[in-house]
Amino acid sequence: MRNLILKDLVLHKKFLAVISLLYIAYMGIFGSRINSPRIFFLFSMIMSGIIPVLIFTREDKFKALSMTCSLPVSRRQIVLARYVLGWLLTLIIEVLMAGAVLLFPGSKLGPSDLLNLNMFVFALAMMTAILSILMPLLIRFGIAGIFVVAIGAQVLGIIVLSFRFKWNNILVALIAAMKSVFAFLSAGVDDPGRLALALAMICLVNLASIKCSEFLFRRKDV
């Protein structure tokens, strides 16, 4: 797995350097203008979560997946390596973005706003939400999978809006569920029980996503 991760890092080093610098500079400016650490982590996680996704779509571009799959590694190892690289890159870029915000002159966010356990768990939850949805689709369908998510979300939005009166009860229940998840994350995890529950949920979602990706990738013809 280490070789797979190193391979991807080395092969995409220039792309990674350029895109990371741009993202860090952008989020540094954006983050210094807002006073909510949650909004910063929400947006920065979306941006940093996109970076590993962009790397893996480059494999499609070069049609190099058949080469990777011909190497002495199993499909499971390829999937695991992608998740580990995805988490590592997202977290490293996230830390650099947070650093840029703190160093930016006149920033409204201070170290105590960003560097605390609540925000760490919130950031992990955001990363899990983004990567666990995108990775299975990306691994199975490549860049087309990402378009499916983007277009599918819009189509779903149109359908929901069109039938909002008919499905009112379902929608209310869904929104209430989402609110309770955010409320749980916003309420803080100072209590060890809540912290353990939050971390267990994050692990479970990631594990489910990995298993789903493994299943889909085993069925992929390269």
Partner: protein, 288 residues
């Protein structure tokens, strides 16, 4: 029988194309040629061996191991050259080597540099700037540098000039001299196989037509040339394929002895080349 590769009842269904219960084996220390027309299923078989595509049935055992359950162990002993070598195109050859070498515990850097030198490949050149032949040579250098026990070549000689093709064939022959390494070589250039292959497997429309030793194939198959009056319904059934001209016909048989008994001095018998076999069995007429 010491087989490095055993394929049994292999199936793959693409909808418009099916690989139908393909079975054959490659013996340790020998070169097996895989021939067949375009779209016959040669590349599909090689992709199935490497688990690049999912099989719908059958069994593939390499070095006695299952190619799915022991995927990494099996692949560490396989050298491969795909019909179109895709690497990360904007990288230098030495960078690609640096990324691939750590995957193989038996990687021999000295051998790689020797091969790069023999193939006239500049290590600092960017992959995308190489010609198709040069890309093939680079893929070959990578395939041979980790001392693989089974080399899979998928149409690897098609982009190469005749001089290098001949050198490559000699290299492959040299490779199997230790009687431990084996080669599965898919190609359209049947003359290459006649020079080096010990066994030949002919595939057509996803089905194995025959899999036999090369010398036996060349000894038993022949092209019969005779006047059209001898092309009776019974004789048409006897031939594997035939081509009718205005006054005469040419036909392929896999039973030269029986053909000589049937036609005696009224026909001319030429030894069939692999190209003849491919041609008559693919494009020739056959008895319905």
């Amino acid at each position: 029988m010491d087989n490095v590769l055993e394929i049994k009842n292999l199936r793959k269904d693409y909808g418009d194309f099916r690989l139908k219960d393909v079975s054959f084996s490659v013996r340790r220390g020998y070169i097996m040629g895989l021939i067949g027309p375009n779209g016959a299923g040669k590349t599909t078989i090689i992709k199935l061996i490497l688990n690049l595509i999912r099989r719908d049935g059958g069994d593939i055992r390499i070095f006695g191991l299952d190619n799915l359950k022991d995927e990494a162990a099996v692949k560490s002993r396989i050298g491969f050259v795909h019909d179109t070598p895709f690497f990360y195109e904007r990288l230098r050859l030495k960078t690609i080597r640096a990324q691939i070498a750590p995957f193989y515990k038996d990687w021999d850097d000295a051998l790689f540099h020797k091969l790069i030198g023999e193939f006239d490949l500049p290590p600092k050149k960017i992959f995308t700037k190489l010609s198709r032949g040069m890309k093939m040579k680079f893929a070959l250098a990578l395939a041979l540098s980790h001392k693989a026990d089974l080399i899979l070549l998928d149409e690897s000689t098609s982009g190469l000039d005749p001089v290098f093709r001949r050198e490559l064939l000699a290299k492959l022959q040299g490779l199997i001299q230790d009687e431990k390494k084996s080669v599965l070589f898919s190609t359209h250039i049947t003359s290459d196989l006649e020079k080096i292959a010990d066994y030949v497997t002919f595939i057509r429309n996803g089905e194995i037509v025959f899999s036999a030793p090369m010398d036996e194939t060349l000894a038993t198959w022949s092209v019969v040339k005779a006047g059209n009056e001898l092309l009776t319904e019974d004789n048409k059934r006897f031939f594997k394929g035939f081509r009718r001209r205005e006054f005469s016909f040419e036909a392929l048989t896999d039973n030269t002895g029986e053909a000589k008994r049937r036609f005696g001095g009224n026909a001319v018998f030429d030894k069939a080349s692999l190209e003849d076999i491919m041609y008559y069995m693919t494009r020739g007429e056959s008895h319905a």
